[in-house]
Symmetry: C2
Subunit: 345 residues, 2 copies
DNA sequence: TTGAAAGCGCTACCAT
DNA sequence: ATGGTAGCGCTTTCAA
């Protein structure tokens, strides 16, 4: 290492070259842009000599050339981008796994999956924001998209719009996930095990009503026409709220509760136990989602196990829809639910 | 309504109009494309008469015109897209909230946040995939991005690359989240409360080693030079694995365990209790992440509370970096940790 | 106040 | 086998 005394003022760090384009690659390789495109895209319709290919690839590597997706899809008239809104609240392991499966499956079909952070933007405005990206398909969980939004997306070239939610939307494919069945399964289970005065926890957090409302309705439906009663129990996800509910528990005179999901079940069960209420003797508790934590509680938590569609299925639906956009929208009921009895009921 | 007998073969449903462009809007409004652009972008430098503005807006509305983001950013030479990889494993409420804050803050600064579903794609390949979208900034949690990846992104015009992880990466800004401090806090707490033979749970799930390794190292560092010992305890997130570990617990001769996080702590604590081991008398247990569930366990779980940076802070860092890309990369230590003592230690 | 036109990076058609 | 080039949708300068 040579010692350099008094180096001059520090040189500006690497004079920010501008972004290399295919023209730069062509220049460096001594060929035309067309040839570059052919080589880098492995165009089969055209024969390029092996030496030329090498020169082009070498030049691209040397410049650190990365094709410009926007230019490409502008030229092509379409993209392979599948867009979905990023969830606005913490999602459990179930949904996480579903998303990952989906991404993997779509990647294999050569789509690019992108979650768009749409926050505080409502309905049609969100649809417009998505449409600007000209995705080839849009997947929307929940019930945030109306027929107008679907129309905007289709008018902007989306070849498939799929909703994952409680109801079908005009013009869109639907994976019907009616959480009704979850409540129904829980309600039926509680009724079958002799419970007649059933409470149903309804979380305070907004954004969850998409799920909680149908789950409640499902319980109601399950015991309709019987002598059982259903009581709605609003509950925030916080210890104090749970304790307060537990304190007036005996006054409520309930012999069972469907706690919305396993986490709320854990919260409520703890509060009830602290209040000295015996589970399941005095009150049966059933959760939902079949999380690990339910098995770790004492008594072990009975829970409604959900069967989500596989990511693969949805990916296939998307691909089919993209290939044949004229096909009329499919609607699939995809949510299965069965109650797993453990020790809390 | 005229009755038409024997209608011919069902007409193709709504002859798929093609996507309206600003030229279509111009035509319908009877103006030039330039005028359309001025009106729809509220160009201040140019005065357009009110009647014209109305005609243009009306035409745009009628056609359902949505500008084409790719064309726009192609012309502009840059986009306002901030890209981050979508997490490949279930993330807890902490991280979820962080992402949401970040998205909200960036939206306010007029950026579009997009999570790119990069799955099964490694390192530089991932960086290339991201670079194709020409994001103005890239945020990468974890340690999946090397100096080469950073270089690819910068060469493709990314004005800011920020890593959120254990170490700085050449050329990128860094939010240093060294989980070291988490283990350190737990280790110190256990030591201070008189424990000397400390176990540290290391989750079996891959993808988590980014966090678990430094957490383990932190515990080691905390008791270095003392008479305390640290024992690594590999553990899968499953009941059987926990039970098996609990069965050989007494042989291990440990008097404390840092369980990686609250969920693993719950898993292990349950197994230990089922084995008849008294907590905290025989073994102290401390988790991390300060989740609600820790407060619901009995004994209440001591835990390491993490202080993540606020989404706002990161958004500001990104914005600063985008505005002045020449500024040399900042590195901030942003992970705070303090142990909250409850009843399990 | 409005319009004509260039050009962003890329691909695919048509020549050579 | 390779090159020239039009044109995707948009913004912006320059002219009228």
């Amino acid at each position: 290492m040579v010692q350099i005394p008094n180096p001059p003022a520090p040189a500006p760090p690497a004079p920010k070259r501008s972004v290399p384009t295919s023209a730069d690659v062509a220049r460096l390789a001594g060929v035309s842009r067309a040839t570059v495109s052919y080589v880098l895209n492995n165009a089969r319709a055209v024969r390029i000599s092996e030496p030329t290919r090498r020169r082009v690839r070498e030049a691209a590597r040397e410049l650190g050339y990365v094709p410009h997706a926007a230019a490409r899809s502008l030229r092509a008239g379409h993209s392979r981008m599948v867009l979905m809104p990023a969830p606005a609240f913490p999602v459990g392991p179930l949904y996480s796994r579903f998303i990952n499966e989906l991404q993997a499956a779509l990647s294999l079909l050569d789509y690019t999956v992108v979650q768009h952070g749409t926050i505080g933007v409502h309905d049609d405005e969100a649809a417009r924001a998505w449409a600007e990206l000209r995705p080839v398909a849009v997947l929307v969980p929940g019930s945030g998209l109306g027929p107008r939004g679907v129309e905007v997306l289709k008018r902007s070239g989306a070849r498939a719009v799929v909703t994952l939610g409680p109801e079908t939307v005009e013009g869109a494919h639907a994976l019907l996930m009616d959480h009704d069945v979850v409540g129904h399964s829980a309600g039926a289970h509680l009724f079958d095990t002799g419970r007649r005065r059933i409470g149903v926890v309804v979380p305070g957090e907004r954004g969850l009503d998409t799920f909680s409302a149908p789950r409640l309705a499902g319980v109601r439906a399950a015991v309709r026409g019987t002598d059982a009663t259903v009581t709605e129990l609003p509950l925030a996800h916080d210890e104090e709220a749970a304790a307060s509910l537990a304190r007036r528990w005996r006054d409520l005179g309930l012999d069972a509760v469907f706690a919305y999901n396993d986490e709320y079940a854990m919260l409520l069960m703890r509060a009830l136990q602290d209040e000295g209420i015996r589970i399941p003797e005095e009150t049966a508790v059933v959760g939902a989602d079949d999380l690990m934590l339910g098995r770790l509680l004492r008594p072990r938590l009975s829970t409604v196990h959900l069967e989500l569609p596989s990511g693969q299925e949805l990916a296939d639906l998307v691909d089919r829809a993209v290939r044949d956009p004229s096909a009329s929208p499919e609607a699939h009921k995809v949510l299965g639910a069965r109650t797993i009895r453990r020790d809390s009921t």
